[in-house]
Amino acid sequence: MPQGELCNRKPIVTDEQLKLTLSDKSGKKYYAEMLELDVDTNALWATIQKTMKARLKTWLEICAHCGMCADSCFLYQVNDCVPEQVPSYKIQSTLGHIVKKKGNVDNEFMRHCMKVAWSQCTCCNRCGMYCPHGIDMGVMFSYLRGLLYSQGFVPWELKIGSGMHRVYRAQMDVTTEDWVETCEWMAEETEEEWPGLTIPVDKQDAEIMYTCNAREPKHYPEDLAEAAVLFHVAGTNWTVPSEGWEQTSLSMFAGDWECCKDNVNHVYDAIERLNPARVTGTECGHAHRATVIEGPYWAGREDGLPPKPYIHYVEWLAEALREGKLKIDPAKRIKEPVTLQDSCNYVRNQGLKDVTREIISYIVEPGYFVEMAPNKEHNYCCGGGGGFNGIGMYREQRNVALRKKMDQILDTGCKLVIAPCHNCWDAIRDLEEEYEIGIRWSFLKPLIIGMLDIPEGMRVEW
C-alpha cells in the first residue's frame, strides 16, 4: 500500500494535519498504517548515496567487531548484556544492512530499524569514547534516524514533535503571541518583589540574548522568571527575541534534517537581527547540542560556529558567580549530600564538565558534593535521552533504561540531584515516580536564587 493518511513520507506542515495526527489516540491508526507503508527503495538508496559521507562509510567498513563498545552502552548493561544490545551489532544490523542491500529492504525491516534506532540508542555518544577506532554509534544512529524519517518510519510522537517545529517553530504549540505574552506575564509577576526587573523583548545590541525550551513557556513559565531574576541581580543587559526564542530541536531526534536546519536558522536569524554580544540558552542539553554544536553545520556555516558566541547556561552562571556578579551567601549553601547529573549533550559533546563543577564549588558546602561513578565525559545517559522520554510506544524499554541512573544515584547515597538539563530533569523525575527511591531533583536556577546574597534594596521583602 502506498502512503497512509497519518503515517507517510511527508512531514507535517499544517496545523490541520498536526491536530489530525494528535487526535489519533496513542498513534493507533498511525502505527496500523505503518504496517502497510511501502518503502521507496530507490529514494532510500539515492539518499544514502547523496548523504552518506566518507566518515560513516569508513566507520561501517572498519568496525572490527571487537565488542569493546558493549560495556560502554548503558542499554547493554541494563538489558542483561544481550548481544542484540551491543552498539556495533545494533548499527551493523540496521544501517549496515540497509547499505549492504543498497536500500533494498522491506517494511518489516524498516520497522525493526525504527525500534532499534529509537528504543535501543539514545545517541548519547558514549560508545564512541571506548571504540579503539573512534566509531561513534550515536552519530550513526542519528543518521539512520534521518533515513527512517524520510521513509515515514518514525515514532508517532516524534513525527508530531517535528511537525510542531515546522508549524509553530517550537516543540509545543506556543505561538509568538503566547511567548511574548508569557514574558510580559512573568515580568509582571516578578517585578514587585524585584523592583526594576524586566524581560526585554527584541532589544538590540544586548550583552546577552536568552533562548529557551518551549516546554518552559508552555508549562513552567517560572523558569523564565527565574532566569530573569538572575540576569537582573547580575546586572546583565539582556533580551529575548520575539521570534527565534525556541532553542530545542525535536526534529533532531526525529531525524527531520530539513526541519533541523530551519529551526537553527530561525535562532540564528534572531541573533543577526538583534546583534547581542553573546547568546545563552536555558538549562537544556539537547537544545544546546542542536543550536550550538550541530546547528552551525546544518546551517552550512563555514566556521562551524553560531553567528555569535553561544554559551550554555552553566557557562553563564559559572562566569557570573566567578566574577562576583552573583554572590552566594555561605550560610545558605547546600549542606546535605548532593550529586550532579552530567548531560551527555553538553558534557560529552562540548566538554563542559569542569564548569558545572565550578558552580558546585560555590553552592555546596565543602565535603557534601558526591560524584556519581563514572562521571564527567564518562557519565551515563539519564536513561531518557534522544527522544526516548517522549515515546509512548517504548515507555517500558525507557523505564528499564532508567535503572542505570537509579543505581548510580543510589550509590552516591544522595537525596538531592542537580540536573541542569531539561531532559535529564524529566528522566530523573520519572525514575523517582517509577521506582520511588526517595530523591529530589532540581535545576540550578531555583537553587541559586534561594542562596543568593542579595544586594540591599534589590529585593522587596513582603
Binding site: E189, Y220, P221, E222, W462
Partner: protein, 297 residues
C-alpha cells in the same frame, strides 16, 4: 465588582463549598462564572498524556476524554448549574496553579474562588492549605476567595464583612477590596486588628496602651478613606491574631473575612500564604478572601 468569577475546582467534594459560594455569588450578583478544571499535569516528556486528577492514572487527552470530564463536572455541579445562565466550563492541561493564574489573567477575572486543598489524603491535607492555593494566592492579581469548610453562617449573600489588618502595604489593598465590597453590597464592615501577644509577657497597662494606639492607627489609616460610608465599626483585641479573627467572625456572624496575603518565600513550592491567613482559612466559618495585589480592588 464580581463580574467574572473563576471557580477553580478539581470536582472533588473538597471543592463543593467553594462551588456553592461561587454559584451563589454568580446568581445573586449576576456574575459570569467559569468552572475551570485542569484535567491533569502533563506526564513525563509529552504533554498530551496526563495523570487523571481523580484516578491518578495516565490518560491521553483527546476529545473523548475531555467530553467525558466535562460531562462529569456537569453532573457533579448539576444542582448549581440550575438557574446559572452565565456559567461555562473550561478545561485544560498543565500545572494547576500555573494554569489557574494563566486563565485568570487571560479572562481578566475579578475573583478566583477555590477550595483550600484538594482534599486528597485527607489526614495530611486537611490541616493545610494546598500548594495550589498557596501559589495562586501569592501571584494572582485579583482577590482569591477560598472556602475550606461548608460554611455555617454563610447563606448565600454577604452582609457582614470582617477586614483584619496588620497595617502592612498589602493590607491597604485588602482594605480597599473590603470597603468596595461593603459599599456595593451594602454590608456592615468591621475593621479589626489583633494585637499579637502570643508568646509574649506583657503587663496589662502595656496591653491597654497598645490597644489604644492600634485603635487610633485604624482611625487614622482607614477612616479617612471611607468617605460617606458609615456602616463600619472598629475592633481591637489582643491575643493570637488568627484565633481572635475567627472568634470575632463567629461572634458577629461574619460572612466574609478579608485579609492581606503575605509571604517572603521565593520558592513557590514552599511559599506559605502567611500563617494568619492560612489558619483563618482553615478555621473560619465563612469564606475567606486573600488579597495581595492592588489590582481589582
Amino acid at each position: 465588582m464580581f463580574k467574572k468569577i473563576l471557580l477553580a475546582t478539581t470536582g472533588s467534594p473538597a471543592s463543593f463549598g467553594a462551588a456553592r459560594v461561587a454559584f451563589d455569588m454568580a446568581k445573586r450578583y449576576g456574575s459570569e462564572v467559569t468552572i475551570f478544571h485542569v484535567v491533569g499535569v502533563p506526564t513525563k516528556a509529552f504533554s498530551h498524556v496526563v495523570n487523571d486528577v481523580r484516578t491518578g492514572e495516565e490518560v491521553e487527552v483527546d476529545e473523548e476524554y475531555l467530553a467525558w470530564v466535562e460531562e462529569e463536572l456537569k453532573t457533579t455541579f448539576a444542582k448549581q448549574f440550575e438557574g446559572a445562565d452565565n456559567a461555562k466550563i473550561v478545561l485544560t492541561t498543565g500545572v494547576p496553579a500555573r494554569e489557574i493564574l494563566r486563565e485568570a489573567r487571560k479572562a481578566d477575572s475579578d475573583l478566583v474562588v477555590m477550595a483550600a486543598s484538594s482534599g486528597e489524603n485527607a489526614s495530611f491535607h486537611k490541616g493545610y492549605p494546598g500548594s495550589t492555593l498557596q501559589k495562586v494566592a501569592k501571584a494572582a492579581r485579583c482577590p482569591v476567595l477560598s472556602v475550606h469548610r461548608e460554611s455555617a453562617s454563610y447563606w448565600g449573600g454577604f452582609s457582614n464583612i470582617l477586614f483584619g489588618t496588620d497595617f502592612s502595604k498589602q493590607a491597604e489593598s485588602a482594605f480597599k477590596f473590603a470597603l468596595s465590597t461593603a459599599r456595593e453590597l451594602d454590608c456592615d464592615l468591621t475593621i479589626f486588628h489583633a494585637l499579637d501577644i502570643s508568646g509574649k509577657v506583657l503587663d496589662q497597662n502595656e496591653i491597654e496602651e497598645n490597644l489604644i494606639i492600634a485603635r487610633k492607627r485604624i482611625r487614622e489609616t482607614y477612616v479617612p478613606l471611607m468617605g460617606d460610608f458609615k456602616n463600619y465599626d472598629i475592633e481591637v483585641w489582643e491575643g493570637t491574631p488568627y484565633v481572635e479573627i475567627v472568634k470575632l467572625a463567629r461572634e458577629k456572624s461574619v460572612d466574609l473575612v478579608c485579609l492581606a496575603h503575605h509571604t517572603n518565600e521565593l520558592d513557590p513550592e514552599r511559599a506559605r500564604i502567611g500563617s494568619t491567613v492560612e489558619q483563618v482559612i482553615l478555621r473560619a466559618n465563612c469564606p475567606v478572601v486573600s488579597v495581595s495585589k492592588p489590582d481589582k480592588v
